[in-house]
């Protein structure tokens, strides 16, 4: 099965849109509640198109996010790669699950990623750590259906193109 050229247009443009969303400034109060749009989009494609979006794309997306957010290079790259690998391993099962169950999975990965980022930073107090890793996980839970609906059309177009 060859990757059709349409995938190389549609998938990067959805990733780009996710990056714009990710950088969109939120009010300070809601700041911890911003869903990890880019990670969710990468994971969406990893579940739906594992032959196209795998670890390498995840790594590149993570690296770009590192620069955009000003975090040490390699941190998001590493975490995106690991989250995508875990998703690819469970890909067949995930594809069969309902959207809610998938949402729980991506929320779990978001929680892990966030906790790791905060621990690495090393300056967070315990309660701040809790809030700041739980909040994005919960919002990932809510954002997953949004991502699914938003990407349904591009994904259908890809399926038809096959």
């Amino acid at each position: 099965m060859r990757t059709d050229p349409a995938a190389w247009l549609i998938i990067p443009s959805t990733l780009l849109a996710a990056l714009v969303l990710e950088l969109f400034p939120w009010p300070d109060l809601l700041d911890p509640w911003q869903p990890p749009w880019l990670l969710l989009t990468v994971l969406f494609w990893a579940i739906r198109r594992p032959d196209t979006v795998g670890m390498s794309i995840a790594w590149i997306a993570g690296l770009i996010l590192d620069v955009a957010l000003g975090s040490p290079l390699g941190t998001h790259a590493l975490l995106f790669t690991l989250a995508t690998t875990m998703t690819l391993v469970a890909q067949r099962m995930l594809l069969a699950l309902s959207m809610i169950q998938q949402a729980l999975w991506v929320a779990f990965l978001t929680l892990l990623q966030q906790a790791f980022l905060l621990l690495m930073d090393g300056h967070a107090s315990a309660e701040k750590l809790m809030l700041m890793s739980l909040a994005p996980a919960l919002s990932a839970l809510l954002a997953w259906p949004v991502i699914n609906i938003a990407l349904m059309n591009p994904q259908r177009r890809l399926e038809r193109g096959r």
Binding site: G54, S56, V67, A68, V89, D121
Partner: protein
């Protein structure tokens, strides 16, 4: 291209390669500081994306500004005019004091103070890393911004430049947990280090002995030690002093003067020796400083 990615799928070897690559990047970037150039390129590519992300908020701001009433603008103008007049009056004494200072230094054969160049930058309100307190500004290597450069607000020191792209740069705020700045007490000259705590309204003052001459309400200014930072800019006001029960250093906290919560403008400072060439020729960490 596609082939490479497909081969990578699920391969434990490829996973190991990517993990090692990430760790290598991490070490090279945050420990050895080798990758400013790479970061600069990617920052250049990200610029349009960042513009796009801030478009809604800048449109909103533009729209709300254009709906300001004429009266509001008149009041604003009058207030600024008065403020300008007051500042100019204060500057009159400043110039004479500066001249006097120069003469006295010359008489004492002290080292010559460094001249300073200033540039105003605007903040691009995009997201930054979860706990890290950084802001993105609209000046970069093209304006000769360099890593480690001092960034000020009108009220006091804001932070310093940590990454530079061609048109953008990232400024770490004073309050970031990994930011430390050499300061001295303006009144007594006692030296210390002001470190961020991660909280926007509190700095820790390190290495201040229990018996140091410092009181609540004292002004802390940059000491200029360690280079890079100009001396004498206000940083924070001492809030609380608790003599340590054990150990030689008191635990002191201070409140930053610059509005770290909501910085609007950033002023970048270049220091140059009066005999040294203009900043256009000064050393630049990013090789891309040949515009203008």
């Amino acid at each position: 291209m596609a082939n490479l990615f497909r081969k990578g799928r699920g391969g434990p070897v490829w996973l190991a390669v990517l993990v090692l690559l990430s760790l290598g990047l991490y070490l090279a970037d945050s420990r050895l500081h080798l990758l400013e150039g790479v970061r600069g390129w990617i920052m250049a590519g990200l610029e349009p994306i960042q513009r796009l992300a801030t478009l809604p908020s800048s449109l909103w701001r533009g729209a709300s500004e254009s709906f300001h009433s004429r009266e509001h603008l008149e009041n604003e103008r009058a207030r600024l005019g008065q403020e300008n007049l007051l500042l100019k009056t204060q500057m009159q004494t400043f110039w004479s004091i500066q001249e006097e200072n120069k003469r006295l230094r010359a008489a004492l054969k002290a080292t010559r103070p460094l001249e300073q160049d200033l540039l105003l930058a605007e903040i691009i309100p995009v997201q930054s890393a979860p706990l890290g307190q950084t802001v993105l500004i609209n000046r970069g290597a093209h304006d000769h911004v360099h890593v480690g450069q001092a960034a000020l607000a009108a009220e006091g020191v804001l932070g310093q430049v940590i990454h530079v792209g061609p048109q953008t740069a990232e400024v770490m705020l004073l309050s970031d947990g990994s930011h430390a700045l050499p300061v001295r007490v303006a009144r007594s000259g006692q030296r210390a280090i002001a470190r961020g705590t991660g909280g926007m309204d509190r700095l820790e003052i390190l290495h201040m002995p229990n018996n140091a001459d410092v009181r609540e309400g004292d002004l802390l200014v940059t000491s200029g030690l360690g280079g890079g930072f100009p001396a004498g800019y206000p940083v924070a006001v001492v809030m609380g002093i608790a003599p340590a029960q054990s150990g030689p250093f008191a635990s002191i906290s201070a409140r930053p003067l610059a509005p770290l919560n909501d910085p609007r403008e950033v002023i970048l400072v270049w220091m140059r020796d009066t005999t040294a060439p203009l900043p256009a020729e000064t050393k630049n960490t990013d090789g891309a400083a040949h515009a203008h």
